[in-house]
């Protein structure tokens, strides 16, 4: 019984190599605002991201599918998902965003990865001691 199962498994060994096949890229970002003042809620946050894209890359940029996967209003940090070909556009748009509601702000991109799973364990932020 066990033997036959093993034989079946042996026949079924399979390896697939997916080269740059990920459709999406993921970014972990944090919005920095001066102390005090209104904090955006999740809808406003997404609006801010889209407006940043629109400013730098126009309507074509604003049409990029960007998803806010998670957003924490307390820390203003979020995980964004974007199609791979739009990564550079989104990233540059976030970098060049300077104002939120006429107040200065800055997007800090903490991590980018083609794998969402990789965002769960960032060894650079790990404090082991």
């Amino acid at each position: 019984m066990a033997l036959s199962e093993q034989a079946g498994a042996a026949a079924s060994f399979e390896r697939r190599v997916l080269r740059s096949a990920g459709e999406h890229h993921y970014l972990r970002v944090r919005l920095e605002l001066p102390d005090g003042g209104a904090r955006p809620n999740v809808a406003q946050f997404k609006q801010l991201v889209v407006s940043a894209l629109k400013e730098l890359h126009g309507e074509v940029g604003a049409a990029l599918p960007v998803d806010v996967l998670t957003y924490e209003e307390k820390t203003l940090s979020a995980i964004l998902r974007v199609v791979s070909s739009g990564l550079v556009k989104l990233w540059s748009a976030l970098t060049l965003l300077g104002f939120y509601q006429n107040r200065r702000c800055a997007f800090r991109v903490l991590q980018t990865s083609p794998f969402l799973l990789a965002l769960a364990g960032n060894s650079r932020e790990l404090v082991l001691d």
């Binding site: 096949a21 070909s85 550079v88 969402l116 799973l117 364990g121």
Partner: protein
């Protein structure tokens, strides 16, 4: 209503005209062909001709744009006609070109905008109890792991079989300001490197900026150093694969257990001199040692004169309620529509679960369109355990074994997963294949273990990495 060019505007033409090139005939033909409606097929030919200097390809482009002047149509053509190029304006069409173009020598600047960093995902499937199964070898080859997490659906508490393994995940040591030459000393080699598996990795060093060192259990000491340090050290190494045309980083590999490295050998003395006097390198090190049976002195007592502290991995448990889980079939790596999910879908889903991403969105929702892959079921509870620290492969193999044993008794769950994250800044990923940071330095793998002990193994690496074994 149009009339011929009046004389006045002919003069304008002459004024405005650039250098005349006479390739009119071929061009006219090409334009004629394009007009016959077989546009797409001619594009390659036209483009190659275009390379010789005429404007055929663009002429066709013009034809089409004038044909349907609506934007999406021209966009679609633009996207297809140069799948290697233009993603820059084709926001809508790019999603179709699944794999971004591979990097070439001369990519026009604008097209770089549409390129995403290269990455690799290797999926394997096999059987955990098969004699020739290499799953344990893959774990062993991935020396430096910072985070291990496992997810068991239909389970609310830590299963009994895993309790002892979790408790015995092993401690590791952090030594501050340890000179590298102490790792090359023969006392150390004899006491630890040769008597078990000794793992060491520099802590808080960045592989793309600083010098980094790592000791592999096979006795190889790997130094990844920048150009300045390399020149000062005077040890033989090779240029890093990922440092570009102007080499700024070198890799030095020293085999500590090799026969040429006995205490009085020339090589040993040279290495010791280089690391002690020529360029004394000091790092904070993470250390772990695994030995089978034989008692010996411990790292703690050996390095007692250095600043050493023993650390325990941090373990967190959580129970997820009403989790949407994709349906999987162990023999269908690609998944089947309506029956099971593919391995990439699972990989993304798992990332979503570990990052606490909400899974129940609609394709029309404003914030996020991510949803759990189809088909899926809702499980009432799922158990998630995460261990962070400097975790050695031997313990992961033990854990993997115990997870297989979990299915020894009949369980509700059909599968469970074990995810292992590597250090982004380690100089190697699998075995001794060089690892770089680029933009994320990701190197991780994930096991899906099925009830019948079939497994899927997914290994993912980023841009500056070789293909996993």
């Amino acid at each position: 209503m149009r009339v011929s060019l009046p004389d006045r505007c002919r003069r304008c033409w002459e004024n405005a005209r650039a250098k005349g090139t006479e390739r009119a005939n071929a061009r006219q033909q090409a334009a004629g062909e394009a007009r016959n409606g077989r546009r797409h097929r001619h594009i390659n030919a036209a483009q190659s001709r275009h390379c010789t200097g005429s404007g055929c390809a663009t002429e066709q482009q013009a034809e089409v744009t004038s044909g349907h002047s609506s934007f999406p149509a021209s966009l679609r053509l633009a996207g297809r006609c140069v799948s290697v190029a233009v993603p820059c304006l084709a926001a809508g069409s790019v999603t179709r070109a699944r794999s971004p173009p591979r990097w070439r020598m001369a990519v026009p600047p604008l097209q770089r905008l549409g390129q995403a960093p290269r990455h690799l995902l290797v999926c394997e499937k096999g059987h955990a109890r098969h004699a020739r199964s290499r799953h344990a070898a893959h774990v062993r080859d991935h020396a430096y792991n910072c985070r291990v997490s496992f997810l068991i659906p239909e389970c609310g508490l830590l299963p009994e079989v895993l309790k002892s393994t979790i408790e015995d995940v092993g401690e590791y040591y952090l030594i501050r300001n340890l000179p590298v030459h102490e790792l090359v000393a023969h006392d150390f080699i004899d006491a630890f490197v040769k008597k078990g598996s000794c793992y060491a990795l520099t802590y808080k060093t960045k592989i793309d900026q600083d010098n980094t060192a790592a000791l592999l259990p096979n006795g190889n000491l790997i130094l990844s150093v920048d150009k300045d340090t390399y020149e000062e050290l005077g040890l033989q190494g090779r240029p890093s694969k990922y440092s570009g045309k102007k080499v700024m980083r070198y890799i030095i590999t020293i085999d500590l257990t090799g026969c040429g490295f006995h205490p009085d050998s020339k090589k040993h003395n040279r290495v010791l001199w280089a690391l002690k006097e020529k360029k004394p390198l000091e790092f904070d090190f993470l250390l772990a040692w695994y030995n089978t049976g034989a008692e010996g002195s411990t790292l703690m007592s050996y390095f007692s004169k250095n600043q050493i502290e023993a650390l325990k991995p941090k373990i967190t448990f959580s129970t997820l309620r009403d989790l949407q889980c994709p349906l999987l079939q162990s023999n269908e790596l690609h998944g089947k529509p309506e029956e099971s999910c593919s391995t990439e879908e699972l990989f993304e889903w798992l990332g979503a679960v570990l990052n606490q991403v909400s899974l129940d969105n609609k394709s029309s929702s404003f914030l996020s369109t991510y949803c759990c892959p189809q088909p899926n079921t809702v499980v009432e509870k799922a158990f998630l355990c995460t261990i962070t620290g400097f975790i050695i492969p031997e313990k992961i193999i033990q854990l993997l074994e115990q997870l297989c044993c979990y299915f020894g008794e009949p369980k509700l769950a059909y599968w469970l997963t074990l995810t292992v994250h590597g250090f982004a800044d380690s100089p190697v990923s699998w075995r001794e294949s060089e690892h770089g940071f680029h933009k994320g330095g990701e190197n991780l793998y994930n096991f899906v273990i099925f009830r019948n002990l079939d497994y899927w193994l997914q290994m993912a690496v980023g841009t500056n990495d070789d293909c996993p074994p």
